[in-house]
Each structure stands twice: as C-alpha cells, then as structure tokens.
Symmetry: none
Subunit: 153 residues, 2 copies
C-alpha cells in the first residue's frame, strides 16, 4: 500500500506517543518538516487522533502556541471505555450516579471526587427540561471520563 503524507504524519505522531502519554508539537514546524501546508496537520489530527480512537487534542494559538496530543489510558477491564460508550446516550440521574459509584468502587475516583461529580450532574445543577437534562448529563460525564482516561497531570 502506498502511504499518503497524512499516513506518515500519523505514524510520526503515533510513535512519539510510544514513550510518553502525551506530546506537544508545533503545527508549523511539523508542517515544514513534512513539507505540507499547516492545515494538513489539522486534517491528520481530526481524522486520526479522535476520541473514538482514544486520543485528545488540545491547543493554544498565538505567541507561544502549541498542539498537545494525549493518548487516553484505560484500566485493564475496559471499564472506562464502556462507560464512555454509555455516555453516547442520554442518561437519567439514577443510571449516571450508579456509573459514578462504580468509579469510586474501582478507585478511579475518591469519595470526595465522586461526590463532586455527582453534584455537577444533579437535578439542581442541570435545572432544565428532562429530555435535554439527560443529554447534558451524559455529555458532562463523557468529558469527565475522558479526563480520567487522560490520566497525566
């Protein structure tokens, strides 16, 4: 198979992530290195380093701008991964709380953290019509899980 430039850039970033759980890169430098336009880096990031594939991309513009790519971790039994899946549907309060409780049982969240997260998705916090409520709830939980998988300071 003939590799595209995007494939090669993907491989490069992938192998940089072998050692560490995240890397910081300069979009411009990378583009220069691979002799492509800067926006191609975005293309690679958008098509290959997605949540679904287990990555998170953060960035900052301007002066000391950067792009940070992190590889998400999961514990052995794929608990977080399937929790993430659950969050693709709206979640009612009971189900969501149970999910959060399980995270505490598995020592992914401390008691305190568990309580905090439950607070953020409580009925009072999401003071909205029920149908949109559940959607926001699962969205919030999804981001929390991603954060937990992103397990580096």
């Amino acid at each position: 198979m003939n590799k595209s430039v995007s494939d090669i850039i993907e491989e490069f970033i992938m192998s940089s992530l072998d050692d560490d759980s995240f890397i910081e890169l300069s979009r411009n430098d990378l583009a220069k290195f691979f002799a492509c336009v800067p926006s191609q880096i975005n293309y690679v990031l958008n098509t290959r380093f997605t949540i679904n594939r287990g990555f998170v991309v953060e960035s900052q513009r301007g002066g000391a701008g950067y792009i940070k790519v992190s590889r998400l971790k999961d514990n052995d039994d794929n608990f977080l991964k399937s929790a993430l899946d659950l969050c693709n549907q709206p979640l009612n309060l009971t189900d969501a709380n149970q999910l959060i409780n399980q995270m505490m049982d598995r020592n992914i969240l401390s008691k305190n953290e568990c309580e905090l997260v439950k607070t953020t998705i409580s009925v009072k916090a999401l003071n909205n019509p029920i149908n949109i409520d559940n959607t926001i709830r699962s969205n919030i939980l999804k981001q929390v899980i991603i954060k937990l998988m992103q397990n580096h300071k």
Copy 2:
C-alpha cells in the same frame, strides 16, 4: 512546553508572591531584566493578575513610581459566599475556570478535583444546541459550591 516571555514574567511575579502577600516592582527594571518593552509588563498584569484570579494591582506614576501586586486573602467562608453570589449570573468559561482555580489556590479543591470540576463545565461538556451554556454553567458551579460549603464546616 515553549514558554512565552509573558509566561516567564508571570512565573517570576507569582513566585515572588509565594513568600509575601504582596510585592512592589519597578516596571522599567522588570522590563529591562526580561529584555522586553515596559508595556509588556502591563500586558502580563492585565491578563494574568486580575481580580478574577485573586490579585489586585496598584501603582503610582512619576518620580517614585512603583507597581504593587497583592494576592487577595480573605477567609474561605467569605470567598465561597461571594463565589456563590457570582453564580447567580450566567458565567462564561473563562470566569468560571478562574473561580475554580481560586478554589484550588485556597486548598478548597485538590488539583484533581479542580480539573474534574473544570471538565464538567467545559464547552464540550455543555455542548448543547441552545445558547444557555452560561446559565447551566453557573448552576453547576453553584451546586458545587454549596456542596463545598457543607464539607467545609
């Protein structure tokens, strides 16, 4: 990570504030020391040492001019109380995050907890069609603060 000059100046002032609750600087000297134009000091002050982040900047021009940066240190009860007040209006992401950061600075939240709460009010978490993001955000934060006030007795 590649730090900008502004980042470095910020760090310098921050660490000067570690020992004391305030510090007096000479804008010109600082600019000379960091090899930048004097107005960059203002830029750092305006973007980093804001009231929202818990700082006050006072200054005097002319002959014996100076810039004084102080870290606000009212007690945690008052802080949470006024934070709660703030949550009666919709909050944009920046303001909300700064509030949460201050909770960490005051050891009301651990670093981890701080990150978690920030995650729950992030743009991605509250990614809903309607533009009531800021309202939901302040609601969530309000419940978090109420929760913290319970713990904090």
